[in-house]
């Protein structure tokens, strides 16, 4: 699975990294972010690209899994 570490990055870098990764067309991706804004933004983008999102939170950080 492709893992993208976007922790600590400013807007809109997490979504840009996800957009770039998703251009490869893989069926699943894992992403790490550390704020709710980034979590919301990447989830919204993944949904718009037809992916389902699973979120796990641990110690203020989010691990998101996007699957098609």
């Amino acid at each position: 699975m492709n893992t993208i570490d976007a922790r600590g990055l400013s807007c809109p870098e997490p979504v840009m990294l996800l957009k770039q990764a998703m251009s490869s067309g893989a069926s699943s991706y894992e992403m790490k972010v550390d704020c709710k804004t980034a979590k919301e933004n990447v989830t919204r983008y993944a949904t718009s690209q037809g992916y389902k999102t699973d979120v796990k939170e641990s110690d203020g950080e989010f691990t998101l899994t996007f699957t098609k």
Binding site: G8, L9, S10, C11, P12, V15, M16, K19, D34, S48
Partner: protein, 362 residues
């Protein structure tokens, strides 16, 4: 939150913010200036004496409210988290020049919307520059621009700006002799709504902006980059609600809240080229920062110490703008201001280049 709910929330919040923006003018703020992050930070800088431009000196409670509203909402939603370390010095410089651009146009992107809602067509030219600046910023983002990541910092670091706001509020209320306030009739600094009203307005808008992630730069940026309309909906909602409110106030009161045209607009000049270039610089700089001046205040309230540095950059930029004759006025831009905007565009482009094309891989 579901995407549709997010959009509905930001539209409702935008409508409330637009109405508050108009009402603040009704209750005493300068025309088309219910909110202006650049002008209000500049006024606060003047009140603290770091510049001595007598017409623009007042500790604006709206700024205090925005930071504290965001801070309280972030605490409530468990989003307060102290982070920093993402090129803070670079962010300070970007903040400095964003302010130089805003004071050339005479308003931040937030006031650009409110000026449009007041019928000021100079703001349309400003908005064209703003969008062009955003597009240039997007060019760098697409090429891999980054100021690198933040890391967790001690909680005390995130409390600095909220505590400063409390101190500023105490100074505003106590009005000691060393704080400067524009005298009646001296200029925009003398026009303000009552302290309590302005503070509550700031608190409400700060909380709403924190909750909705409202960002004037983000609206155009996300629409272009991801075809994502959420943030631009907030922008449009502010415009429409402020416009409707201004038209209502125009017909229901003796005041003038909407005048369509370019000449004679309040706290504005008609030099199209420099209105364009001022907001070009602001738009470009804000994309490289990751958010508009309003968003920087909101992030500061959430504990982002890099945004605190950006706000300090805005503050120092405002002081320089008035100490060195860089800020425009209703008469138009100054020669020094034109040079400063050009230097600003060069510096911001340089920052864009070195953080895009000269990055070392980790």
């Amino acid at each position: 939150m579901k995407t549709q709910n997010e959009k509905l929330l930001i539209v409702v919040a935008g409508c409330i913010i637009g109405i508050i923006g108009s009402l603040l003018v009704y209750f005493g703020n300068p025309a088309n200036m219910g909110f202006c992050i650049a002008c209000f930070i500049r006024d606060t800088a003047g009140a603290l004496g770091v510049h001595r431009a007598a017409p623009v000196q007042y500790i604006r409670p709206e700024i205090i409210g925005l930071v504290l509203g965001s801070f309280l909402m972030a605490l409530f939603s468990k989003e307060f988290s102290t982070k920093g370390g993402s090129s803070p010095a670079t962010r300070f410089v970007l903040g400095f020049f964003v302010m130089i651009g805003c004071l050339m146009f005479l308003g931040c992107p937030f006031r650009m919307i409110l000026r449009l809602a007041g019928g000021d067509l100079n703001a349309l030219i400003g908005m064209a520059g703003f969008v062009c600046g955003i597009l240039v910023g997007i060019f760098f983002l697409n090429k891999g621009y980054s100021l690198k990541r933040t890391y967790r910092q001690p909680v005390s670091d995130g409390l600095v700006l909220p505590i400063i706001q409390v101190i500023l509020f105490a100074l505003l209320c106590a009005a000691p002799a060393f704080i400067f306030f524009s005298e009646e009739g001296a200029g925009p600094g003398a026009k303000h709504a009552a302290i309590g009203l302005s503070l509550v307005a700031g608190l409400i808008v700060g909380a709403l902006a924190q909750r909705t992630r409202l960002c004037m730069v983000g609206g155009f940026r996300d629409l272009v980059l991801f075809k994502e309309p959420k943030l631009i909906l907030g922008f449009l909602a502010i415009f429409v609600s402020a416009l409707v409110m201004n038209l209502i106030l125009n017909s229901a009161t003796d005041g003038v809240y909407f005048t369509l045209g370019m000449a004679g607009q309040p706290v504005a000049h008609t030099d199209g080229l420099w209105n364009f270039l001022g907001l070009f610089l602001a738009g470009f700089g804000c994309v490289l920062l990751g958010g508009c001046p309003l968003r920087q205040l909101i992030l500061s309230g959430e504990g982002n110490s890099d945004s605190v540095l950006t706000v300090l950059g805005l503050f120092v930029g405002a002081a320089f703008a008035h100490n060195f004759g860089l800020a425009a006025s209703a008469e138009g831009p100054t020669p020094n201001g034109k040079i400063a905007v050009i230097i600003g565009i060069v510096v911001v482009a340089f920052i864009g280049c070195i953080n895009t094309f000269m990055k070392k891989e980790k």
